[in-house]
């Protein structure tokens, strides 16, 4: 296949397919092992300085915030992050000083809530480096190639743009049609962080509503940490196996964390905590404010339970549940 053009972006998270197959053979758990552990243990064991991490869900939806806060508490440094509609999670990690590289499909913004003061400041000052550009679709297909264990996947987006020129992709001529196609390299994140509504102790996880990227991401990543609203018996999974989005053999840690996506939305369970998101967006306008947020909600608390107390405890969680399930109008709307 003739290579016509090459993007100049840094290729992160790629491995030779045989090397990755051998890694999977030697490290991924095919035996049924009870993987329940605390969030602190999961991060302590599986997240290392310099890792390339990717976060499931979408923006402020089903975001594994308990894991994000713990990564900051444990002082991880130099992370490379998949910026694939990475919104609150990435912003908070940058504010916590954990990130040095981002591969950007969508980052440094909060969709309709506006641009991210913290993320933008970090990039414009050089604290965080964008090492490559891509699109949400192309990033999705990096994970698709990763889960298949193939070196790349051909596609027809990115072509002809600066997004391609700054990507880690190449262009080649399709041997059948003769037309140029983009070759999107596989991605194997060192760690994927996911939050789900229910999971058994082995890591068989169900997701209600849209899967977003989690099906492909969980199967592509080398290590997969799952936080879950509820731990269910294995029999619940076996009753309806069609509901399993993520099978146990790709999962390395299972952490029971009710409200573990707060302040993000958990479909069918609880709504965005707009008050808390607005507080972050306000405080993160300055470095001092960012530090104050970290002290109040992340570094100054022992764990996620203490964080939940600080953001309003069970009373606030019940309000958010009522908004999501339609029992109450959204406050302030």
């Amino acid at each position: 296949m003739e290579i016509v053009d090459s993007g100049r972006g840094e290729l992160i998270g790629w491995h030779d397919p045989d090397e990755n197959r051998a890694w999977v053979r030697d490290h991924k758990p095919r035996g049924l092992i009870d993987k329940r552990m605390s969030v602190a243990d999961a991060v302590g064991r599986f997240v290392h300085d310099g890792d390339y991490i990717a976060v499931g869900g979408f923006g402020h939806i089903r975001t594994p915030m308990a894991l994000i806060y713990e990564i900051i508490r444990q002082g991880r440094r130099d992370l490379a992050v998949a910026g694939k509609t990475a919104v609150h999670d990435l912003d908070i990690l940058i504010g916590g000083g954990c990130v040095s590289k981002v591969e950007c499909a969508y980052s440094f913004g909060h969709e309709m809530r506006g641009l991210s003061p913290c993320g933008r400041r970090a990039v414009e000052s050089g604290q965080v480096k964008v090492v490559a550009e891509t699109s949400n679709g192309a990033y999705q297909w990096r994970f698709l190639a990763g889960m298949m264990g193939i070196p790349f996947i051909p596609a027809r987006n990115l072509l002809g743009t600066d997004t391609f020129a700054r990507s880690s992709c190449k262009t080649a001529l399709d041997p059948w049609s003769g037309k140029p196609v983009v070759l999107i390299p596989a991605a194997y994140p060192d760690v994927a962080l996911l939050h789900v509504p229910r999971c058994d102790c082995y890591g068989n996880a169900q997701i209600d509503g849209i899967l977003v990227e989690d099906l492909e991401l969980a199967r592509a990543a080398r290590r997969v940490l799952v936080t879950t609203e509820e731990i269910v018996p294995e029999s619940v999974i076996r009753q309806d196996p069609r509901q399993t989005a993520i099978p146990y053999y790709v999962v390395d840690a299972v952490c029971h964390v009710p409200y573990g996506a707060h302040p993000a939305q958990m479909p069918y369970l609880y709504f965005f905590d707009e008050k808390h998101i607005a507080e972050w967006l306000r405080l993160s306008k300055t470095v001092e404010g960012t530090d104050r947020y970290m002290e109040r909600y992340v570094r100054g608390v022992a764990d996620f339970d203490e964080y939940l107390d600080r953001v309003g405890g069970l009373g606030r969680m019940q309000e958010l549940q009522q908004i999501e399930t339609g029992q109450e109008e959204e406050a302030g709307q």
Binding site: N136, G137, L159, T161, D162, T163
Partner: protein, 260 residues
């Protein structure tokens, strides 16, 4: 703004209606949040009841109960026909199922190329923007892309973009096909606070189609760094009807988008 019948509508209402009328029944549209979402919902409640709405995070064909704040919000798959995944939706785009796609951005050029990535040097940007998100995918795959930009000025209608995030017609006729993008698709309409534009078949350059009420061709031209083609006949954007306005305010009762 006001119209002959004393119907005092807002700019947001005018833009939502202009976008809504472009969407045909029994077609599929890929939408983001904000005005595109409102436009698609209005089309469903008027001339296009069978318009299929698709969201990039996996929501397909929802009965949206109230305006989502994110394209992954649980309202984007409320009573949907399918709650799937980004891969599934992007694959449908790539395969040719999606007729319309909405785009917005910080700056556009005469061929409908779009920048949502940086101003200044890419390595050391003066302004860092969020990047492509799904925009490059929409601009590559959807049959007809519709741009909504409420800030037309010589700074946003640029002769040369600092960064092409999303492809329009690139450098002109045939350029998309030459680089390997799917054939026969590309920019269709641009809607700004001043007017509605299309693209000339021969040159693929942006062409004025309609001025909004009270806007002159001179104003259109003065608010662009590049020359906008002006055909012999330029129409005026049809103002929102009272019925359209009533529906819009039912769709966005708290004026989350319409109030902007």
């Amino acid at each position: 703004m006001s119209s002959a019948d004393g119907n005092g509508y807002s700019l947001a209402e005018l833009l939502a209606c202009a976008a809504s009328r472009l969407l045909e029944d029994n077609r599929a549209v890929f939408v983001g949040t904000g005005l595109p979402m409102i436009a698609a919902m209005l089309a469903q409640r008027t001339h296009a009841p069978h318009l299929l709405i698709v969201f990039e995070a996996g929501g397909v064909g929802p009965r949206v109960p109230s305006l989502p704040v994110s394209v992954g919000d649980s309202r984007t798959f409320h009573q949907a026909v399918l709650a799937s995944s980004m891969h599934d939706v992007m694959a449908a785009c790539s395969a040719g199922y999606i007729d319309y796609g909405f785009l917005g951005g910080a700056a556009i050029d005469q061929y409908g190329n779009l920048n949502t990535t940086v101003f200044g040097e890419w390595e050391q940007p003066t302004v860092r923007l969020p990047g492509s998100g799904g925009a490059n995918d929409i601009g590559s795959f959807c049959w007809r892309t519709i741009y909504m930009m409420r800030n037309q000025s010589p700074r946003t209608f640029m002769r040369k973009l600092p960064f092409i995030t999303t492809p329009g017609y690139l450098s002109g006729p045939g350029a998309r096909e030459a680089v390997g993008l799917p054939a026969g698709c590309g920019p269709y309409r641009v809607i700004t606070q001043l007017g509605v534009y299309g693209f000339d078949e021969e040159t693929r350059r942006m062409m004025l189609l309609a001025c909004h009420p009270g806007v002159t061709v001179d104003e259109i031209q003065a608010n662009s760094e590049f020359e906008i083609l002006v055909p012999g006949k330029v129409s005026e954007t049809e103002p929102p009807t009272l019925e359209e306005r009533r529906l819009l305010h039912k769709i966005d009762p708290t004026a989350m988008v319409l109030g902007r």
